[in-house]
């Protein structure tokens, strides 16, 4: 975790945003678009990208105006900033990526309330420098996109035997509708989170083992 006092280096911020503090894996925020649009990997990718753009914009602006906005209207003001960024993305997608716009549907305006974005604005951008906030936004956004891609990929693969539209398991693979329908989204995400837990536990163990080794070497 990065805190205010120690000026964190960029790498730490990135690792933090991408993995340790990942909106999905660690904070369980931004779940709605994650579950809602990831029937396949491609949708996940575009949704992630849209979120990434908004996140960069909002972190940038919020870190620029930090200190200027009084506490009482902090949340309304941030939210207006985020909402207008989202609207820009929405209008742009509507104009030039109409099909994806139709698929993502309601979830684009809902980026506004993607808890991860306001959360970042509040918790990070409003307290950090512009560059740090940008790094954070990119890391967070990439982490989010990664999660969306992962879930989308898993659901597409298990549900239809395909990945990005390419047949993987062959045509005899029966479509397991569970993974395409809402219940499957929850269950698949549950398993992904379990996997993340596993990785984290392994990582911790390795770190501890390393520490022990070092201690032994030192003594």
């Amino acid at each position: 975790m990065t805190t205010l006092d120690d000026t964190p280096n960029k790498q730490e911020i990135f690792a933090d945003g991408f993995w340790h503090n990942n909106a999905i894996f660690a904070q369980l925020l931004g779940m709605c678009p994650l579950l809602g649009v990831t029937t396949n990997a491609e949708n996940g990718f575009w949704m992630g990208l849209a979120t990434l753009l908004v996140l960069i914009g909002s972190n940038l602006i919020v870190s620029l105006v930090r200190g200027l906005i009084p506490d009482e209207v902090r949340i309304p003001a941030y939210i207006v900033i985020i909402a207008s960024l989202v609207t820009v993305v929405e209008l742009t997608m509507n104009a030039w990526m109409h099909e994806m716009y139709l698929i993502l549907g309601l979830f684009i305006p809902l980026i506004v309330v993607n808890c991860a974005i306001l959360g970042r604005a509040e918790a990070f951008a409003s307290k950090n420098t512009v560059t740090n906030s940008l790094v954070d936004a990119v890391a967070m956004g990439l982490g989010f996109t990664f999660a969306l891609l992962l879930l989308g990929g898993v659901r597409e693969l298990l549900g239809q035997g395909e990945l990005f539209g390419f047949d993987i398991f062959g045509s005899s693979y029966p479509d397991v509708l569970l993974f395409i329908l809402p219940p499957g989204a929850f269950i698949a995400l549950g398993f992904i989170l379990a996997g993340v837990n596993l990785v984290n536990i392994r990582m911790k163990k390795r770190k501890e083992a390393l520490a022990v080794q070092q201690a032994e070497a030192a003594s």
Partner: protein, 193 residues
């Protein structure tokens, strides 16, 4: 530039909301923090200062103000920590020090020189005695805070384990070994005599 007119509608709305919030924040301002009271009620009131604060109330204030984490009260133990964490809505943390067996102070009367220093130190006024006479500790009131140990110039105060009373005995959780308990008790007895 005609298309910009609606913009003003929105900005005007924002202004109205801003004014509304500004007013509201003024008229509906509340003072005080009932949280600290709630937390204080949970603390064991040992007044031992192990939390780094001069007594329980100051610690409660600090916790309520989010200045310090919830796991510093050693006498309160895990149960208190969990309750406070619950109230504060934070993740529970491990208590930093091992929970110790309950103890009370005991003055070896023949060695006491009656300096009254311990009386001054005791936060709950449970040491009685006049100058130049033996002091005694009212065991029932002693919180076991150990604050009286340091000032004693002749080191005649011991902390002894609170004796297990039949009236206060209660069933341990199923699966607890009996032998170990009996042994420790025996050891304690021997230590005491």
């Amino acid at each position: 530039m005609e298309f910009l007119y609606p913009v003003f509608i929105f900005a005007a709305l924002a202004l109205v909301i801003g004014v509304g919030l500004a007013l509201a924040s003024r008229y509906f301002h509340v003072e005080g923090d009932p949280l600290a009271d709630t937390i204080d009620a949970l603390l064991p009131q040992t007044q031992c200062g192990q939390c780094g604060y001069p007594g329980c109330r100051p610690y409660a204030n600090a916790v309520a103000a989010d200045e310090v984490s919830v796991n510093h009260c050693v006498p309160g133990g895990e149960r208190t920590m969990l309750q406070i964490a619950n109230i504060m809505g934070v993740e529970p943390k491990a208590i930093e020090e091992e929970e110790t067996v309950p103890v009370v102070a005991y003055i070896r009367e023949d060695e006491c020189i009656g300096c009254t220093l311990c009386i001054k130190a005791c936060p709950v006024d449970c040491i009685i005695g006049a100058p130049k006479q033996y002091h005694t500790i009212v065991t029932d009131h002693c919180t076991g805070c150990t604050l009286c140990l340091e000032p004693c110039p002749v080191d005649c105060i011991d902390m002894v384990e609170t004796p297990e009373l039949l009236e206060h005995w209660s069933w341990p959780v199923p699966g607890t070994k009996r032998a170990i308990k009996a042994e420790t008790r025996k050891a304690n007895h021997e230590g005491e005599s």
